[in-house]
């Protein structure tokens, strides 16, 4: 039977109506977007200005308000792909283990001196003065708690400690997760709109921030590790000076020159609970901070015991100031002064509040699109889509007459369904995505063309109109399915192997393939069968 049963016909109509309903908000993009922004504020319990209240009422609540997300290439913004240097963390862990390892080894019978030897970062190489107890020393090192360690001997009196592979993998994972969290907090603190921060693969993070004008702006927020720590100063230093293993030679950006400081910090930035921009007694920009209870106690004790000595405030391996301890500082609050501008102190406060990145990040890829260019692309894409649709419609009507009208209706339905699917899935429309839509407009008629050509052939064999149309649909099915499944295979591969914009293209093309088969087989057929049932034509021109 060519005609659908009543229930099936109603089901098809419902799908089409639902599609139109879901696609509709995209026609009023600005209005709906403002409505959604205002709705978010209401949800968070924030007060609305009069303008925002008008925005909220600009689109009725009972209508669907899902929109197609515009990609960064269309609305402008910054895309960054960064890699977390997870190996950085290994070295720190080794530094952390060293005091405990040293004390344990010293406690062994027959060991008098224990020395740390230079080694690659991530390795802890220790030399003891008695080769006879190396076995026992290694066993003791394996027993250190906290991490799964690999202990090996490199010489008769020297052993080497490294993290096990499993431990490294877990650590990598944790480092990336923490970095992601910290980046998210920093971007949120900076107050940008709808940032997207996602992990990609094992070591990478993709940061997308719409509306930003330059990548540098974003990198100033997320690019710095912002690790703050307080170290006792040992002595003045000079460039190229070699220092002992438990010391560091760092540049002093405040006063110039170099200082030698102890490697292990008194207190670290992870014990900060708050940081705010402020001004020092001379009215210069500074950053005020507060420690948590543990940090406050450590800092208090240290300042009490070391009055008169200097300590260095170190940010990302640079000394930003090295004041003298004038008196005991209880209470755990303090102020960092240095060569700041007001802006820098405000930014530093944000970074310190959000917390340090566990490891450095390296930028692998950056793409910035200005909002102007994005708008141009949207306009160009929209005009191209309309022109393409118009041209295809004229062509179809010229070729297939009244059948072409049906194909046109089904093409329009197809475009509506595509937008409905994209909005409902929350997919992101990119410039290649628009190309996908335009291409689908061209290809979507293919299913209709196949059916119509079949009907022509069937008519030529002398069949009655209704019978020919029915046969046409039936016989075109296998070709249409084969053709579209092969396209889908390519689309699926594009989706999984492609990245960024290519993915956007594959999503729209894939949705287009599915909706075009649906519209050809159900919508066109529904229209055709109703037309034939109503007019009962004896002959038909196709």
């Amino acid at each position: 039977m060519l005609q659908f049963g009543r229930s099936k016909a109603i089901a098809i109509l419902l799908v089409v109506l639902a599609g139109l309903f879901a696609a509709a908000p995209n026609l009023f993009y600005d209005r709906v977007e403002r409505h959604n922004d205002a709705a978010v504020l209401v949800e968070r319990g924030l007060p609305l200005s009069d303008g925002q209240r008008a925005d909220l009422e600009g689109w009725p609540d009972w209508l669907v308000s899902n929109l197609v997300n515009l990609g960064l290439d269309l609305r402008g913004g910054v895309y960054l792909l960064v890699e977390v240097q997870v190996e950085d963390v290994y070295g720190e862990i080794m530094d952390g283990i060293w005091p405990e390892a040293r004390d344990t080894l010293r406690g062994l019978d027959g060991v008098r001196t224990v020395r740390r030897q230079p080694a690659d970062p991530g390795l802890l190489r220790i030399r003891i003065d008695n080769p006879d107890v190396l076995g026992a020393a290694m066993a003791a090192m394996r027993g250190l708690e906290g991490y799964a360690l690999l202990v090996s001997s490199v010489r008769a009196d020297t052993l080497e400690i490294a993290l096990s592979d499993l431990e490294r993998r877990e650590l990598d994972n944790r480092t990336v997760e923490q970095s992601l969290e910290k980046i998210r907090r920093r971007v949120d603190e900076a107050g940008t709109r709808e940032p997207s921060i996602q992990r990609q693969g094992s070591q990478r993070i993709v940061v997308q921030v719409p509306g930003l004008g330059s990548a540098e702006e974003l990198l100033e927020i997320i690019g710095r590790t912002a690790r703050l720590s307080f170290h006792p100063v040992v002595s003045d230093g000079a460039e190229d000076q070699t220092v002992a293993f438990d010391q560091l030679l760092l540049p002093d950006v405040d006063m110039g020159g170099f200082l030698v400081v102890e490697r292990s910090a008194v207190v670290g930035g992870d014990e900060l609970v708050d940081a705010q921009p402020s001004f020092d007694q001379n009215g210069l920009p500074a950053v005020g901070f507060r420690f948590n209870a543990v940090g406050a106690r450590k800092f208090g004790e240290y300042t009490r015991d070391n009055v008169g000595r200097r300590f260095a405030i170190v940010l990302d391996s640079e000394i930003i100031s090295a004041p003298q301890i004038i008196s005991h500082i209880p209470g755990g609050a303090g102020q960092i002064t240095g060569q700041f501008t007001v802006e820098e102190s405000a930014r530093l406060a944000v970074l310190l509040r959000a917390g340090a990145l566990p490891a450095e990040i390296q930028v692998l890829e950056q793409r910035t699109v200005g909002p102007e260019l994005g708008q141009d692309s949207v306009d160009a894409g929209r005009i191209a889509a309309i022109v393409a649709m118009f041209a295809v419609i004229v062509f179809m009507m010229a070729s297939y007459g009244v059948f072409g009208v049906f194909a046109t209706l089904s093409l329009l339905t197809n475009v509506a369904l595509m937008f409905a699917a994209l909005s409902t899935l929350g997919a992101t429309l990119t410039l290649p995505g628009i190309a996908g839509i335009v291409l689908t407009v061209g290809m979507a008629v293919d299913a209709n063309v196949l059916i119509f050509e079949r009907i022509r052939e069937e008519l030529k064999t002398g069949k009655a109109v209704a019978r020919a149309v029915e046969e046409g649909f039936k016989r075109a099915l296998s070709a249409i399915l084969d053709a579209n499944i092969t396209t889908l295979i390519a689309v699926v591969i594009l989706f999984f192997v492609g990245s960024g914009p290519v993915r956007g293209f594959s999503v729209t093309l894939g949705i287009g393939v599915v909706t075009s088969v649906f519209t050809a087989f159900y919508v066109t057929r529904l229209l055709l069968s109703s037309y034939i049932a109503r007019t009962r034509p004896k002959t038909i021109s196709i």
């Binding site: 990548a215 160009a380 393409a388 010229a398 007459g401 030529k460 070709a479 053709a483 390519a490 591969i493």
Partner: protein
């Protein structure tokens, strides 16, 4: 109303008869493409080569030569400036600036970008930077690999599908015509030195999908006719199948080309390379499904005996016939 008919209702073009011309044309085109690829090479974009591209806009027209003077001797290696042809709505004074990759350190690249930006802003008043894209060498190598993998798996996936639905001869023929299309497309990109980037890989994959679409329609008809005309000679049968589907092939290619030309002319410069690849792909895909695919099936021959074993590879072929 008289309807437009691009293809007469009943055609008997002897496509298989014209095989000599097609074989010579295709073989020559493929050989030339391979030669062009090795002699001229592809003009890889930053996606595959690493480096930076910037799009800048000025209030007044600026000659490309003036740009070149402005970016000379900045100490950041070769800086190329090319004009962006005015297409559609973007009839503005825009130019594309390319900076080579400075090495492994991303910070040095960032400095180079800033240097070029400053130099341009100083030289041309009111210049704005519309977009900056920068890809590091590490990522670009991965992208090349991913691109190859995508094309390879797409061809493989298609091969398996066609083999399941038809017979192995068809599968080989389909893949042969795909490889033909891809090689000739790469040859054209080498010849014209159009920038080859990720979007072009996407275009090639779409061409694969499209060309296959066409080929499968023809195969579907060949399969149907094989059942219908058990006695007809294979060349004649293939010819008839191509003729029967010719009208559809031309109409679909026509509508797709209409849409693509709209995009190419109006869609702006960002998409022009992509759309160009697609237009070419539709043309070459249509050609290959008419000439190449059928020809390969003819060469390989089809097992037309009714032995059950000959149906081994076609167990899904009847589900909807």
């Amino acid at each position: 109303m008289r309807l437009l008919k691009l293809v007469p209702a009943d055609t008997h073009v002897n496509f298989i008869g014209a095989r000599r011309v097609a074989v010579i044309f295709s073989a020559a085109a493929m050989l030339a493409s391979v030669a062009l690829f090795f002699v001229l090479g592809l003009n890889f974009g930053i996606d595959f080569r690493g480096g930076t591209t910037m799009i800048v806009q000025t209030p007044q027209p600026v000659a490309i030569a003036d740009y070149r003077v402005a970016v000379r001797d900045l100490g950041v290696g070769d800086v190329q400036v090319t004009e962006i042809s005015a297409t559609g709505v973007t009839d503005k004074n825009q130019a594309m600036v390319r900076i080579v990759e400075q090495g492994d350190d991303p910070e040095i690249q960032a400095d180079a970008i800033a240097t070029v930006e400053d130099a341009l802003e100083e030289a041309f008043e009111g210049l704005t930077v519309l977009s900056v894209e920068s890809v590091g060498g590490k990522v670009s190598n991965e992208l090349i690999l991913a691109g190859f993998m995508a094309v390879f798996f797409a061809v493989l996936g298609v091969m398996v599908y066609v083999w399941l639905r038809f017979e192995w001869q068809f599968s080989v023929a389909a893949v042969a015509s795909l490889v033909h299309d891809v090689i000739v497309t790469i040859g054209l990109f080498s010849l014209l030195q159009i920038e080859f980037n990720l979007a072009i890989v996407a275009a090639i994959l779409t061409i694969i999908g499209y060309s296959l679409n066409d080929t499968v329609i023809v195969f579907d008809r060949i399969r149907e006719n094989l059942r219908k005309y058990k006695k007809m000679e294979l060349p004649e049968l293939i010819n008839q199948s191509v003729n029967e589907t010719l009208s559809r092939t031309v109409v679909t290619s026509g509508t797709t080309l209409l849409a693509l030309f709209a995009l190419y002319i109006i869609g702006g410069n960002v998409l022009s390379g992509f759309t160009f690849a697609m237009i070419w792909g539709v043309v070459i895909g249509t050609y290959s499904s008419i000439f190449v695919a059928g020809l390969v099936v003819k060469w390989l021959g089809v097992d037309r005996s009714d032995k059950p074993s000959s149906k081994a590879g076609t167990q899904f072929a009847d589900i909807d016939a």
